[in-house]
Amino acid sequence: MPSGVKGDKGGKWSSDLVLDLYSNLLIEIWEVVSALIGEAILALLFNLSVQTLGEKYPFLISLKVSEEGISFEEMREDCRNIAPIEIHRGFQSLINHLSHLFSALAEGVINKELFPKVFPKVREAERIISQK
């Protein structure tokens, strides 16, 4: 699975930090949920969410999701000039939207597996943003 989580050679920016955090988080979501509903359906749900939120957070459109996994390569370039708070909000909306889809499909079954892993990382992202 292409993760695309690589450090910036010229030193990390805050945007990079937030992006690293969320890319790890999305990969974790991918691993947990794909084991439950399969890669094909999960890729479809990711793309559906990106499509829905793309207008408000255009940088999300460069998130490439297929049955093989999530690729952040293109997004990393696109995020260079975006404020960390904007990246944080975009990803938070994406995760909320995914969580809404999961609960529409399977009520609490997916989110029950996901919440213990996802919530601490969302809080960590919020902490990084508030420190800036």
């Binding site: 509903i37 094909a40 559906l48 499909l105 399977a106 029950k112």
Partner: protein, 343 residues
Amino acid sequence: MRLIFKNLNVLRSTLNAISMSFELKEIVESAGTNLPNLFDFSAFGVLWKEGLLLYLYQEESCPPSFTQEVVKNMARVFSILGEEAINVNRVTVQVEKRKLRPKHMMIDPKATLKSHLTLPLTIEEKIIGCISLNSDQPNAFDAQDLQFLSVIGYQMAASLKHFQRFSSIKNIAIYDTLTNLYNRRYFEERLEVEAQKSFFSDTSLSLVMVDIDHFKRVNDTFGHTEGDRVLCEIASLLKTSVRKKDTVARYGGEEFILILPEAGLEESSMISERIRRLVENTPFEVGQAQINLTVSLGISNFPSHQARTKEELIKMADLALYDAKRGGRNRVSIFMNPKEVER
């Protein structure tokens, strides 16, 4: 551990049954028959986007209100998945009731939908429908149920994909790609069946061969694209002029052929004359111009013309068509001289 093996075996035979099925209803039946061995559910639904069909395989004691709730919920989830909102009243629901529970566990007549698992059915990243397990019990499903349902959904989608491909290959094999009428090959197969039926039961069968008069002029004057458009329009006129049980096929070029089962000479003449007049009175748009066209038609009939084979019946219709052309076109001719047919 033993339970997991048992479940995997049931899952395997469920997948096997689904993969052996070849159309939607059969796929749902195969899944429905096997699912009670895997899940404890009240209703299993498959919503098929094309034609808005919903198959429900459910416990026989499910009250109608519960069924309605399941239908509404599936439509709701399908809409959330980014598909257009579904008007529940437009969904055709087919319910298959089965005894899934022992008598003492029958569903309360006032039971409501308490839990569900719903997953989209996808083919090449397109949503073609969804499947859903539903229960009158709260929290009836867990992560393992979801895993099993997703594998079943995947197999169902794969089988449906084969079914779709098979249907499109079948379409290519029997339809004329330009006019969407049956092609000559299908016509010959159909005639074989109809001729055998008629020859054995001594019932009437008519063939009508139709040819567009001076069609070459249309192609030469307006080009082949416009000519093709005229062919399509005439094809649709032919389709609307015949009875439900008749077969209309493109025989080749600007020639069409009709199989009219149980039609005697009188009825086939009436249908042919109706077609002739309809074409004559229809203005055809070609390029910037509007033109009038006519057709010639030749009729052969069993038993009137004493054809002994289907080939003879075709030959007779062809000779009758030749007569219509020779007689000045824009007319219907009935085959007259059996001596003309080489035997």
